[in-house]
């Protein structure tokens, strides 16, 4: 419904000047933040490596039992695990799973949390009270038991894992969004929108949510590492990804068991995982600063 066509015929003599949106300003601020840019670039490289790397490297599941666990060498850059599988390709392949969990589960959390929080905050009163008490109750449920139950009932399924993590992570997002919505609910541009007779849905999604995207984006970048850690934790418990597939969580778990004899099995997956988390946190930090309205022009 948003009109995007440029009214060139109407304003023939003058050239329409396009403005710098707040996004544009935020982007130019972000670009000046070297740490955030490095974080973003690192993430991009890692994502590309994980996405396309496994096509070019050795198989992640071919075993070479004669070789066993061997340290880094020319044939296996990061060494092999106890079954003789190439660690480098296992890390790249595991990265696919970890990143996918990070993105999908975060997206699920985002979609549920933003809508739920916005509705609770916008309507307020009893609706808000009931909705937020439900959130409180869900917070109180032990997450591991919830996931174990899901896995027992529906079997071990990677998409179920995405859903389970997303279904837990949206709670904090809902609280954040609700608070933000309440804080802008009394802004005059929202009253103006109501005075114009715009519908509730339009006010929430066109006028409110775009104005609280800053905190949402920042919290999203913090949710992704949290979700990846959760997946690692679940895999560590044996509830997540099953062999021969791998994820960073699984690799770290295996490495931790054997770190006294075969250090590389822990150091390399752990290093890559830490690098990703650092990058996400730096990027999130940079985004928070860049999107802060107080640092904008006026």
């Amino acid at each position: 419904m948003s009109p995007t066509t440029l009214p060139s015929a109407v304003v023939t003599p003058e050239q329409i000047e396009t403005g710098n949106s707040l996004w544009h300003d935020a982007w130019s601020r972000l670009r000046k933040n070297r740490l955030a840019v490095c974080g973003g670039a690192t993430l991009l490289v890692l994502a590309l490596l994980c996405a396309f790397g496994p096509f070019f490297t050795q198989s992640y599941q071919d075993q070479n039992l004669d070789l066993g666990a061997s340290g880094p060498s020319a044939a296996h850059w990061l060494g092999t695990d106890t079954l003789g599988r190439d660690l480098f390709s296992r890390i790249l392949f595991g990265g696919r799973i970890s990143m996918m969990v990070g993105l999908v589960a975060t997206f699920v959390a985002l979609a549920i949390g933003v809508t739920y929080g916005a509705v609770a905050g916008f309507f307020g009163g009893k609706i808000d009270a009931v909705m937020m008490r439900i959130v409180d109750i869900m917070y109180a449920l032990p997450f591991t038991i919830f996931v174990i139950l899901l896995m027992v009932f529906f079997g071990r399924n990677i998409f179920l894992l995405f859903f389970a993590i997303g279904a837990v992570e949206w709670l904090t997002m809902a609280r954040i969004v609700r608070g933000q919505i309440i804080s802008i609910k009394k802004m005059e541009y929202i009253e103006a929108a109501r005075a114009l007779g715009l519908g509730k849905r339009r006010i929430i999604f066109r006028h409110m949510i775009p104005n609280i995207l800053g905190p949402i984006i920042v919290y999203t970048t913090l949710t992704i590492p949290a979700v990846m850690l959760l997946e690692a934790f679940l895999s560590f418990l044996g509830l997540g990804v099953q062999p021969p597939m791998s994820s960073w969580g699984v690799l770290i778990k295996d490495g931790a068991e054997k770190m006294e004899e075969f250090w590389w099995l822990l150091v390399f997956p752990g290093g890559v995982f830490s690098l990703t988390l650092f990058s996400l946190n730096f990027l999130g930090d940079g985004l928070r600063d860049a999107l802060d309205v107080r640092s904008s022009k006026d």
């Binding site: 009109p3 009214p7 000047e17 949106s21 005075a195 114009l196 006028h207 022009k297």
Partner: protein, 328 residues
């Protein structure tokens, strides 16, 4: 005199104060607007003045139905908005629009001028999507903005320009009545006159009815045909702008008018200010009888008994004061 377009009958807007978790206890009521009677005629500019906290803005929001009305009727073109269905209210909003106080807060910072002005046109289907751009350009010219700025964002404009955008948005639906809630008080003094003149000009040109809210009588005097003075949720005096300001009747209006500085240094030196003692009383717990009596120089025992109604004082004037006849 032209026919009435907007009538407020005993309009009340109260906000409950509650305390307690889960079980809410009602511990009081803020009577922001408490029994306002007002008839606004087509084509007039009605100034509404009063000090901060007297309920001016709440009255504006009540007229627009942005806050729920506690009692009374708000009748626009014969239709009571306070009891209208959502659909009727939506239709009424085409005739009734508002300009807000702070142009820095009243424009969505994520929307271009074009998106801001096009939205009401599209939502109310005022014009075909193909004509929206032409209409937006027309609106911008109407308020003195160059249409080439239509793809810019609010933060790229000055305060005065933003208020022009807000006025254009209010005009987009070609309303009959506009409520302007202190539209110039957030602006630089040098810009205030421009916006006032624009509003006055548009009112004439488009035959608008304007309810102009301010806390500054000199601003109101400049633009209004009639002036209503509010004190603690009620109207205490109503009359032609020149009359009210030259010859105020109600003791509160007298105090307000005496506070207007005059540009002539000689008269300014001898100007007698009526300084009111104390603060305005709390709208949670207003004084019995006339709300103004604790600060009024003419108050007597009878003032504490009942709130005085607005009564005619000559053909064009209404004043709410029981001691009107005795006042000097």
């Amino acid at each position: 005199m032209s026919e009435p377009i907007l009538q407020l009958n005993d309009v009340k807007t109260h906000f409950p104060i509650t305390r307690g978790f889960l079980v809410k206890r009602h511990i009081g009521t803020v009577k922001a607007v408490d029994g306002v009677n007002l008839t606004v005629r087509r084509g007039e500019v009605l100034g509404l003045v009063g000090e901060s906290g007297c309920g001016k803005s709440t009255l504006a929001r009540t007229i627009l139905q942005l806050v729920p009305t506690t009692g009374g009727t708000v009748v626009l073109n014969g239709r009571n908005l306070a009891t209208s269905s959502a659909r009727e209210l939506l239709a009424a909003r085409r005739d009734l629009q508002m300009v807000f106080q702070d142009p820095y807060a009243s424009l969505n910072p994520r929307m271009t001028v074009f998106a801001t002005l096009a939205e009401p046109l599209l939502v109310h289907r005022v014009c075909a999507p193909a004509d929206v751009a032409a209409r937006v350009a027309e609106l911008m010219r109407l308020v003195g903005l160059a249409p080439r700025f239509m793809q810019k964002y609010p933060h790229e404009f000055s305060g005065g320009q933003r208020q022009r955008i807000a006025i254009a948005r209010a005009l987009a639906l070609e309303p009959k009545v506009i409520v302007a809630d202190e539209p110039v008080s957030a602006l630089d003094v040098s810009i205030q006159a421009q916006i006032l003149n624009l509003l006055a000009q548009l009112t004439k040109k488009m035959n608008l009815t304007l309810i102009f809210i301010a806390h500054d009588l000199s601003v109101v005097k400049h633009i209004s045909d009639r002036v209503a003075v509010m004190y603690l949720g009620k109207i205490v005096e109503l009359g032609l702008a020149a009359d009210v300001i030259e010859r105020p009747r109600h003791p509160y209006t007298r105090a307000l008018v005496s506070a207007i500085p005059t540009p002539n240094p000689d008269t300014e030196r001898t100007r007698q200010r009526i300084v009111l003692a104390g603060d305005p009383p709390s709208p949670i717990n207003p004084p019995a009888g006339c709300a103004f009596h604790p600060r009024c120089a003419y108050a007597q025992a009878q003032c504490k008994l009942a709130a005085p109604p607005l009564v005619d004082d000559g053909p064009t004037r209404e004043v709410a004061c029981v001691r009107l006849a005795d006042l000097p």
